[in-house]
């Protein structure tokens, strides 16, 4: 009797155990993911909520509360009228500055990176490994070390305090990274494609332009995301090598938040910080999609 009962209960256990265990795992997983998502999303929420409140609400209420009286006034102010340094211009001109710096710097450093990667992988020449090692080393040079030599160089070139100067700085500093990306990507690139193109009559730039670059979507996207976020968020070079007319957005934001006169308009500061973060978010969201697509396209053999 008892044996039979034991069998029955065991069978029942086996039946019930498996459907229960999976949801438990799932629940733990989701709980963890949600908790982590909250940790990451909370600052964003605080910024968003407080940038849409009048200043009194921030002073009186708590930071976590949703706004009572919704207002876009802080955003408008941060964008066009807030005091940056001595000028009441808002972030708008500096937003434009950042674009004028980032776009050419990203394009140039990406192009040069792909050219370097092409040369380092497709042409066996004496010292190519040493050259690559040296470029790789530049990735590990901290910003602070290059400040003074760079300032001197910009001075000699007559580019000190200009947007062109900042583009140059970011291109030079970025080449190490972009070369590393493209070199590693092209090292795994099917060599027969390049040889075939050479036999078909493509010249040095023809191979790069018609064969390598059109098949580099994944690494181009990686490089562009990396360079765009880095240069957009960069502060030290921006603060060191620009003047009033060429401040990038990060420096302007710092000036907005740190202005020592008058009332601290936290809602405007939050709105300004949010404005500064939008382009990198957009780049990431838009190209992230292409990134996945590019990876899938690249997985097919030539």
């Amino acid at each position: 009797m008892s044996e039979i009962q034991a069998h029955i209960t065991m069978a029942a256990d086996q039946q019930s155990v498996s459907p229960v265990q999976i949801p438990v795992k799932r629940i733990c997983l989701y709980a963890l993911l949600i908790a982590l998502a909250i940790v990451f999303a909370l600052p964003l929420y605080v910024m968003a909520a407080n940038s849409l409140k009048p200043l009194e609400e921030i002073r009186n209420g708590n930071l976590m509360a949703l706004p009572h009286a919704w207002t876009v006034e802080p955003w408008l102010s941060a964008w066009s009228t807030a005091q940056i340094g001595v000028q009441p211009t808002g972030l708008r001109p500096y937003f434009l500055n950042s674009f004028l710096i980032v776009v050419p710097a990203v394009l140039l450093s990406t192009l040069i990176g792909s050219l370097n990667g092409y040369i380092l992988t497709q042409f066996r020449f004496r010292g190519s490994h040493v050259l690559f090692a040296a470029m790789l080393f530049s990735v590990f040079i901290p910003y602070q070390i290059v400040l003074i030599p760079m300032a001197r160089t910009l001075g000699i070139l007559g580019l000190a305090g200009t947007i062109k100067g900042l583009v140059l700085v970011h291109v030079v500093y970025g080449i190490g990274f972009t070369t590393l990306f493209f070199r590693n990507y092209y090292a795994a690139f099917p060599g027969e494609l390049v040889r075939s193109a050479r036999m078909d009559g493509a010249k040095f730039f023809g191979v790069l332009w018609r064969i390598l670059l059109p098949n580099s979507a994944p690494i181009i996207v990686v490089t562009v995301i990396w360079q765009f976020t880095n240069i957009w968020n960069e502060f030290l070079f921006g603060a060191s090598f620009s003047d009033f007319s060429s401040y990038p957005l990060t420096v302007a934001l710092n000036n907005l938040v740190n202005s020592s006169t008058g009332v601290k308009e936290y809602n405007v500061h939050f709105a300004g910080a949010f404005i500064a973060a939008i382009p990198t978010l957009v780049v990431y969201l838009v190209s992230g999609k292409y990134f996945v697509r590019g990876l899938m396209a690249g997985s097919v053999k030539g």
Binding site: P190, E192, R195, M199, D200, K203, I211, P214, A297
Partner: protein
């Protein structure tokens, strides 16, 4: 379509010699197959012909023009790569058009040639597809189409069938042969597959260790291999290479196999008893006999002038369907023979066999070169 003269081509990387003094002269319309095990230098030689690698010495003459230092694109040679090397970002039509576009051929002529080539290879319906949407065989055709489009003087094929599955490989092999017959093109073809070499070539260059072992027609390479390496490499099953002593027996030249119990003699047919062979009397030689030279002897059979009987034990029976391979114990050495498909033999059984020695070859035991 042209003659290609490869003269004393060498290649070394530092102290390592990849190619030793290769000289091959190709006539217009020849199909040369470079064959050999991996690392034999056949691909290096092909890359040198293509211009993708520079030789350390020697010259290449294409139709009277020295192309040794000419850029690959300027040589008028096109190549089909092992991986097909189709440009993944371009459609089939754009792939075929690419070499023409690079040569600044006018657009309407380009389009006409793409159409002509694709019609010939029956890939018209694929023109708008991307390479990733094609099967292996289709990619192969497109790669050939791209090589055809610019109408070069010489075609190079670098192991073009090695990425295809077995059935498709046989089909494409036939197709490449047909193509050669139709175009009368000069082709250099690299492979490690000796069957491909035998079926396709008008001449075969067998290579090993960067040295040209033999250059000859498929018939010569198969029946008169220059050395034991070529003998063992070409043909499946391999040629039987058995050590024997060359002796005079009752005034006739004979091969003496084994010693003691299993020892026996095979008289060398008189037309093969050349002076060169006579010089090896009393010495050990390596005799080469193809598997198909042997058949099972019937009771009342009479041997022809170059046929001999011998007895041996059967060790293994391997039916392949079309015929049955039997591994014999021939005076202590393994000896493979190709027999009728429905032969009634059991492993362990002793049987009498008839060997046709018309195509017997003997190699020097020391140098392993053909005695001729």
């Amino acid at each position: 379509m042209a003659s290609l003269n490869i003269a004393n081509v060498q290649k070394s990387f530092g102290p390592v010699k990849i190619l030793h003094d290769i000289s091959i002269s190709l006539q217009d319309g020849e199909f040369l197959v470079l064959v050999g095990p991996s690392g034999c230098g056949k691909s290096t030689l092909m890359n040198i012909i293509a211009g993708l690698e520079e030789p350390s010495g020697g010259t290449l003459i294409l139709e009277g023009r020295d192309i040794t230092r000419v850029e690959p694109a300027e040589r008028n040679i096109s190549m089909v790569f092992q991986s097909y090397a189709l440009y993944p970002n371009m459609t089939v039509a754009r792939n075929i058009e690419f070499p023409l576009q690079m040569r600044k051929v006018p657009r309407n002529e380009r389009e006409a040639r793409v159409l002509a080539v694709s019609r010939m290879l029956q890939i018209e319906h694929l023109l708008e597809r991307k390479p990733r949407q094609l099967s292996g065989g289709q990619r192969q055709r497109v790669a050939i189409g791209r090589a055809l489009a610019r109408e070069p003087k010489v075609y190079l094929f670098d192991e073009p069938l090695s990425n295809l599955d077995a059935q498709l490989r046989v089909d494409m092999r036939t197709e490449i042969k047909k193509l050669h017959q139709r175009l009368k093109a000069t082709i250099v073809y690299v492979t490690h597959d000796q069957i491909e070499a035998m079926t396709l070539a008008t001449r075969i260059a067998v290579m090993k260790g960067g040295i040209l072992q033999q250059l000859g027609t498929p018939y010569e390479v198969y029946n008169r291999p220059a050395n034991t390496f070529v003998a063992g490499f070409m043909g499946s099953p391999r040629m039987n290479l058995v050590k024997a002593r060359l002796v005079h027996r009752d005034g006739v030249l004979a091969l003496a196999f084994g010693s003691g119990d299993g020892a026996f003699h095979l008289d060398v047919p008189s037309e093969l008893a050349t002076l060169a062979l006579e010089r090896h009397v009393g010495r050990e030689v390596i005799s080469g006999i193809r598997a198909e030279a042997v058949s099972l002897a019937a009771q009342d059979m009479v041997a022809g002038p170059s046929q001999r009987f011998f007895e041996a034990r059967v060790d293994v029976i391997e039916p392949t369907g079309a015929d049955t391979l039997a591994v014999l114990d021939l005076a202590g050495s393994e000896f493979t023979v190709r027999l009728e498909p429905d032969v009634a033999l059991q492993p362990g059984q002793r049987a009498r066999f008839l060997v046709d020695l018309t195509k017997l070859v003997c190699f020097d035991a020391g140098s392993e070169n053909l005695i001729a």
